[in-house]
Symmetry: C2
Subunit: 451 residues, 2 copies
């Protein structure tokens, strides 16, 4: 049996490893568009900051025993009736590769906004290893003292940190009203404060109009008279599914052009799976599909697809949209639905924000955590949580406790029943997760009495 | 309605707060044997180490609005027919206090082993604020350069750290084969290595026979010819339920003499609740009772009792035995059953131990985590987990993810479905929790093939 995988990043390699683990007799071939199988794209900001000087360390793994990796093989199309994939190799030769089971794991591509000057030298997207080499070469040659970042999502924020770390003055421009547009604005403003305290100029609610070359500098013009001069412009305004190969065989697409799959990660064509940043993602709380391109999700979907491709019967259990980002000394993490998302989905949400020390204040080094809980006022169910605090104060792992609770559709009040660990240097007898749950309950009751 | 609570530590205050929150019309009285309501007994090692110089900071809270606290009121007995508690106040006067609902939250007392010389000056237990003042005075006056600790459980280990921090040479003596007798011996040995690397002399598998005064020093004699001289001996060999008041009214006792309660925290006498270190604890995985005195459990049981005392209907959802301890730079945490406990309880356990970086190794500061998972080979269910690593590497909170999973009776393999957070400085696309679950599955299958 031949299992062919188009794409050698998170979803593709995860599928290959799982298929090989379950049935080592299957012949597994991964077609890789570049030469970097299973690289950590999430690590690019740390390569560019200089914290990870050797890009080779970004490989999640370098051993692929039992898996054939065809590097520099760019898949062009596939033919479901003949069960072949057509690819062009490094030498420019076209090859037909036969498959019994096929996985499309072609990932995403950066969205390039239609701004005049976006293609000028010194303006870069950041999505692939090749992108990062280009930026790194430019940094090494030019040693820019100033950079503009367009887009203040996760990558934009990490790159603001990275360029600052490398000694550039950074201006961060975001179209939405605050940075991190996918979090509650209050948290976004707290992240902005941290960015500013590290010298980053933050221009929220500002659309970029054009980029103009001015000698060896770039002038960025935006709304409300914004004009910034910089030596480098990084564009990080999001990604879109990369589906050219898939649509060659008329595979169905949905939200934002992502491929439609069922929870077994099957497309509309039998024997053809799809997973990762190129597909619609099942959302566990919404019981419906969304587009949520994340490495964690890609790994899980790939593993499910790999299992099913070799005869398994596994369903993807769904995303909760769990994410964390570190910006300077701060970590922000979230899981589940924000209030507005919950309301839109038909819940009757109530959100409470409370602040707790990460561990007993009497033990040195206690840090404040700001935790927001959204729950449903009708059922009492937990719907989502967000947390912000010092990056070493357990922000991410506490969100993981919330995520595990959400996975099991827990009530907010039931969080108090969880037997969580405690020692004064690391927590409280009621963990901040539970203190935040108690605050939610108290405020909801006060709100009901008041209202 | 009068709700009287005997004991003002974790369970008692937690009950009082919950009762007041739910019904502010109830008259709540807490009888406190000393003057330190709701103090963090778990913080005593940090007070004695000097890391928390002001003992007043050990108070979990200092405001008890709407709750009457009677300090220096030592409850002697209670009369279920007359519904009164008899107590002696600071002036030595006996008082009768009427109740409608009663909570016994008298906690535990340290076990004093029957060793000759255990009552010599310079030999101390450590359980109450008064104990800690005595030790602290002795430390201040004598500035001992050497200390022996008898017992290497959680308190013993924390005190080994504390005395070392304060400049004493420490000998730690433990009767069991390794320190931390409630964890897997392999982990116990790793903790021993850390203790020794900090200069602590560890004598495991060694019973203490006698303590003898020798001038201004104490000689500790033990098995296999052990003889250690020190200026201070701390005895921390565990605690036993403190039930004198309760047994005055013939309340039923069970395991280790702890009070029998149902999951509503009711004793055999209507209107009389009991909670905390003086009661048997419902174990969620064993579906039975055990004696597991822990502050986290006391808080939860107290809250359930407080809710039910004012007319609620809440059940204690059970302990998983979740615990964490920090010793020098190391944290060790556990939840659920160890292999031997699981086997004894009728499961067919398999345990796999694996080592993973706490975050992507390419980002600076990655630390190794050693994670052990015990699961049932018949059902695939998670039964327990243990983890050891640098105390700031997310050991405790990852055990909390396991604890939340255990609470919901998850399969080991299903841990891979959890949508946990990821950023390279704080985790991996598969969190170590999930990599350990994958290792458990692979090794179990290899074991089955091999076996």
């Amino acid at each position: 049996m031949r299992f062919v995988i188009i794409g050698g990043s998170d979803a593709g390699i995860s599928a290959a490893l799982r298929a090989h683990e379950l049935d080592s007799a299957v012949h597994i071939t991964v077609l890789l568009a570049d030469s970097f199988p299973n690289y950590s794209i999430c690590g690019l900001p740390f390569y560019l900051s200089g914290e990870t000087p050797d890009w080779r360390k970004l490989a999640h793994r370098t051993e692929f025993e039992g898996i054939e990796i065809l590097a520099e093989h760019s898949a062009q199309s596939f033919d479901p009736s003949g069960k072949t994939v057509s690819a062009i190799d490094a030498a420019g030769h076209e090859k037909a590769i036969r498959y019994d089971q096929l996985l499309i794991a072609t990932g995403a591509r950066p969205v390039i906004p239609p701004i005049s000057g976006i293609d000028l030298p010194g303006v870069f997207p950041l999505h692939t290893m090749a992108d990062s080499f280009r930026v790194n070469d430019y940094l090494a040659q030019r040693e820019p003292r100033s950079a503009v970042i367009v887009g203040a999502g996760y990558i934009g924020l990490e790159m603001a940190d990275a360029f600052t770390h490398r000694g550039s003055a950074v201006t961060l421009i975001e179209q939405s009203s605050t940075v991190l547009p996918t979090v509650d604005p209050r948290f976004g403003r707290m992240v902005e404060e941290t960015l500013r305290s590290h010298g980053v100029r933050v221009e929220s609610a500002t659309e970029v109009h054009k980029i103009v070359q001015n000698g060896d500098r770039l002038q960025v013009f935006g709304a409300r008279g914004l004009e910034v001069s910089a030596e480098l412009v990084l564009v990080a305004v999001g990604v879109a599914p990369n589906t050219a190969v898939a649509t060659s065989a008329s595979l169905q697409t949905g939200i934002k052009g992502a491929l439609c799959v069922n929870r077994r990660m099957e497309t509309s064509i039998p024997g053809v799976f799809a997973a990762g940043d190129c597909v619609e993602t099942w959302h566990r709380l919404l019981s419906g599909y969304t587009y949520l391109p994340l490495g964690t999700t890609s790994h899980k979907q790939g593993r499910v697809a790999g299992e099913n491709a070799v005869g398994g019967s596994r369903e993807f259990e769904g995303s909760l949209g769990t994410q964390v980002v570190k910006v300077f000394e701060l970590a922000f993490a979230r899981t589940g639905l924000r209030e507005a998302e919950a309301r839109k989905a038909g819940f009757q949400p109530f959100t409470s924000e409370s602040t707790h020390f990460d561990h007993k204040a009497y033990y040195p080094g206690a840090q404040e955590l700001c935790i927001s809980i959204t729950g449903d006022t009708v059922t009492g169910s937990l719907l989502g949580a967000q947390a912000l605090g010092h990056w070493q104060a357990g922000v991410a792992k506490r969100i993981d406790v919330f995520a595990t609770a959400l996975f099991h559709d827990m009530k907010v009040e039931a969080l108090n029943d969880l037997d969580l660990s405690y020692t004064p240097p690391l927590g409280s007898p009621w963990d901040p997760v539970q203190m935040a749950a108690q605050a939610w309950n108290q405020r909801r009751q006060q709100g009901c009495v008041a209202g």
